[in-house]
Symmetry: C2
Subunit: 484 residues, 2 copies
């Protein structure tokens, strides 16, 4: 055993750290020259890597060279200003620095004691963020990793509030326990189904309420569905509304839905994972109308607030119910301060907890409220300009209102008559555009119609990128018209 | 809106990045002069921070100054070489650089397409790690955030394998569905209970099997408990064994437990979150004897493999069952490559997925197999030397075998007679040692005895730190003997 590779000294760490930032500078300098989607086939990266780790340690230079030669050509460039797919998550410099410091300190905030600054900065920044969005004062916040996990915890709290002792007795083998029923719209995110599946609710017990022509949940149908289930002896317990659905960014009416959940005594959870940050804009405060009647809301700053993945915030009106559902303190985790502080481990399944509040703090401070408003307002303006271009083009149509930075549309070349042909045309166009790699867009299906999605939301995105993207789409459209 | 604070240019990002590494160098230079546990009271950090975010953006210098003045004095220093509490998780430089790059690329590996290099590096590095530990070839790996989440997924797969259609029909309101019963030892981690609670199994349906005098699950009691439940018409479905329990790092016999789960057709999950990496040492391969008969195992490289939190690996023999339990592809996530690649989102509740494999790759390459063996072997040797010192001291006793880098012990001053007095003495000693801040140790309770835990496991820990810690403990012991 001759190899005694040791941890770097602080000087060496700094020196190599500079070297990593040289690589990062070069990455961002070259970023726009990369295809957004990498030109690799399944297996290309695996085949470039050895089957076993090295026996002896390697130099950082060697490792960094492989990052440049193997990893960078193989990643999809989420930070690319022409990433217009899904919901474009981007990491600002402020967020990157904070993640670097978070890895340096390596704080684990399972208890207040295991990192007081982590716990208290989480409290403070979640209050800041709540104030920016004008969320109700009595909403208490906690950071999880992803919206799926946040929503699962909200549904778990709703399950706990039924008072049916599910935490202790479980759900199986209980003759008198009725089926628990959850309601959400046809346009809700798949994470709601996954939450229900995980929690033992069952996918069949998730009712998908129809939507109107703007893809918003129809409260009248919700009301009927609840009544029908009650009549059948089932137990409605939770409704999930969405502010900014994934396909079209439609906005369910929290106020109208809350009227029903209020009457029925159901938990109302709001999934605002994508669109939540837009409530920082005075002109978009209305998206949270009625939120004071909701029980919980999830917002992901890693989506449209320029924080690196992952960070998801759950605000909840009844933290004590969440605690009741999950708190479980082993002897080795008891501390003298337990009664005076928040131990975030009490409020969820995860014990380990990264220092995620640091990046939220960095980003809110670096840009400031005005800076963030400015960025989001621009994104929405550019998306609406993109929409105007579509509306003035006879061979295109929009598929849903543009509420935020996301545009849904399709091409309708005059020589195609059936939806089937039009679908095939748009699907082929999508593939040709993305394969070229200059821009990356994604798709969805709306009432059987293959729909293109164009998202404006990256921190490095400028108006010129939206204009360029339009031209690229037109170029491919004209090309495909000839070849279809 | 005059403030138009913009994202940094690549040059500015590099320049400020250098500045952050200056701060990091200074942090590590001063680290040993900081108290491991910060000298703060609840509220101290909150009270130092404004109630709202700034209206206009701030300079990085201002933010970094607050990191130095407010955050660093308020964190518990997990990377401090005298952090001897819990399981000491530390971040090596290699891991820190990888996290920096991960935040830079901001890859989200929900689909292969959304970052091929992320997905394929995850496959490759999990094979490397599997080879280092000599885990069975047919174990398939996936990275989650924490062991709690990994174990929850394992138990969910076990629930799915019952064939009771719980994914679709749920667990409530089904007259013929028997109670599902899970077995683990009295010494198992609380995450197993939390997993069962989350999944709707219920905490009452988690059987805590007694342990022997080395805190290992007693297979004969497991066998009897299963039989008893079957006789009562209940449905045993899963057993969780632990390799390296949290209190004492005891090692359940996988082979003996697997004999029973094999006969009974139960899922066997192994929680090796802490101790798993020790199987890199030839002399400790035995801890996984019988693992080929298990169905899944969780190992957390962020505990004792020098990767920053968070990274937890689940190896599972039946990935198709995990997929069956969780796969749910919305239209907007369908890709052309779905049949040729792994889309990790299909195997769990979380959709978003950070580029965690990068740090596993960096650390295995930087240290190499020999380097990692050397570090872990030293930790264990120093822990055993610490144990020898205890064994040769009449006023101390060890509480469990030292299997890895963790020592459990207590002081037994000759003038104290009852366990009650001895408990009070050790608890006070713990508080005095930790309040001083030179070292940080933690505690547990074993058969009613207040037990101190001393962990050797940090990347910056040297033999001298263990010797120093011994002296510090003796100093406080002698002081407390006079004042008790």
């Amino acid at each position: 055993m001759e190899n005694k590779k040791e941890e770097l000294t602080p000087e060496e760490l700094k020196e190599k750290g500079y070297r990593v930032f040289d690589l990062i500078e070069s990455y961002f300098q070259k970023l726009e020259s990369f295809p957004v989607l990498p030109k690799v086939k399944p297996g290309d990266i695996k085949n470039n890597l050895p089957a076993s780790p090295p026996e002896s340690g390697e130099d950082f230079e060697t490792i960094l060279k492989d990052v440049e030669d193997i990893i960078i050509p193989g990643i999809t460039h989420w930070n690319h200003p022409h990433f217009h797919a899904y919901f474009n998550s981007t990491s600002s410099s402020a967020g990157i620095f904070a993640e670097l410091l978070s890895a340096t300190f390596n704080s684990n905030g399972m208890l207040w004691k295991t990192s007081p600054a982590l716990t208290e900065l989480e409290e403070v920044t979640l209050n800041w963020f709540k104030n920016l969005l004008d969320l109700p004062e009595n909403f208490w916040g906690i950071i999880y990793d992803t919206a799926s996990v946040s929503s699962m915890h909200a549904i778990a709290a709703a399950r706990e509030r039924t008072g049916l002792e599910i935490r202790t007795k479980g759900m199986a083998g209980r003759a008198k326990l009725p089926k628990l029923i959850l309601y959400t719209s046809e346009q809700a995110h798949s994470s709601i189904d996954k939450g229900a599946i995980t929690l033992g609710i069952g996918s069949e017990n998730v009712r998908k309420i129809p939507v109107d022509n703007k893809y918003r949940m129809l409260p009248s149908f919700l009301k009927k569905a609840i009544q029908k289930d009650k009549d059948a002896g089932l137990l409605p317990f939770c409704v999930v509304a969405t502010v900014g659905t994934t396909s079209t960014t439609s906005i369910d009416s929290i106020a109208k839905i809350a009227e029903i959940t209020g009457e029925e005594g159901l938990w109302l959870h709001v999934d605002a994972a994508y669109a939540g940050p837009a409530a920082i804009l005075p002109e978009l405060k209305f998206i949270f109308n009625g939120i004071e009647m909701a029980d919980s809301v999830v917002i992901n700053p890693h989506k449209w607030f320029f924080l690196p993945v992952d960070i998801s915030i759950l605000y909840i009106k009844h933290p004590q119910i969440l605690k009741q559902a999950f708190s479980l303190t082993a002897e080795y985790l008891k501390t003298n301060e337990d009664s005076d502080v928040i131990n975030y481990m009490d409020y969820g399944i995860q014990l380990g907890r990264r220092f995620r509040a640091l990046k939220l703090w960095f980003v809110m401070r670096y840009f400031g409220k005005k800076g963030l408003i400015n960025i989001l307002r621009n994104h929405i303006a550019w998306a609406k300009e993109f929409e105007s271009l579509i509306l003035s083009n006879k061979e295109m149509e929009t598929m849903a209102p543009v509420n935020f930075g996301t545009v849904t549309f399709r091409f309708i070349p005059s020589f195609l008559k059936t939806d089937e042909e039009i679908n095939a045309f748009n699907e082929r166009l999508l593939n040709e555009v993305n394969t070229e790699g200059k821009i990356f867009i994604s798709h969805t299906k709306l009432n059987g119609k293959f729909t293109l999605r164009f998202v404006v939301g990256g921190i490095r995105m400028e108006k010129k990128h939206v204009v360029e993207a339009w031209d690229i789409l037109q170029y491919h459209f004209n090309l495909l018209k000839k070849n279809f």
